[in-house]
Symmetry: C2
Subunit: 122 residues, 2 copies
Amino acid sequence: MTVEVDFGAEGLVPAIAQDADSGEVLMLAYVSPEALERTRETGRAHYYSRSRDELWEKGATSGHVQHVEEVRVDCDADTLLYLVDQDGGACHTGHRSCFYRTVEGDHVGERVFDPDEVYDDE
Amino acid sequence: MTVEVDFGAEGLVPAIAQDADSGEVLMLAYVSPEALERTRETGRAHYYSRSRDELWEKGATSGHVQHVEEVRVDCDADTLLYLVDQDGGACHTGHRSCFYRTVEGDHVGERVFDPDEVYDDE
């Protein structure tokens, strides 16, 4: 039976994208009911942008699509975990993961593409 | 140089706790500036409960402390990643991880303790 996700007052839940093979945490973004539906229908990660106020598909601009192998929910059903096969890098800065820095400012992440080349038409 | 975390209008950021060894994503909770400060000072994960409106230390009741090896921030500095050494299980249901179900309702997580024994005085 499908778990009923608690989207709360804002109609959004945070979703963690994790590399299904390596276990690396790639990013966190927000998901609306429609974004979850599209993700499950297409097998590609969709999110909802709070700043642009719109549904978006990860990789629609960059080509860095996330192929979703599994969607998990937490105990309270108010957070999602997308287990993904990530094309290229998840981060718009060119890193594999958005979590490429420690809070102390040390650079610990791997840069896998040049954002100037990927986003040059924006 | 320490990264300035963007706690936003609510004064909270989501924090993902990940097992530093296995890479398993354990839970997501929220962190206030004080919770982050306490986490960094003590090396034990602290969060802020939105429902109880108070700072809490993970494991203070259950004994299932999270020893924090590293704190990372994402590209926008509005999400944290705690890399932890988790005593026992992270989830109040007795599972190692709060993400023990798929959205289809399949049970995929490991149960590591009996919550009735751990929380029996609550």
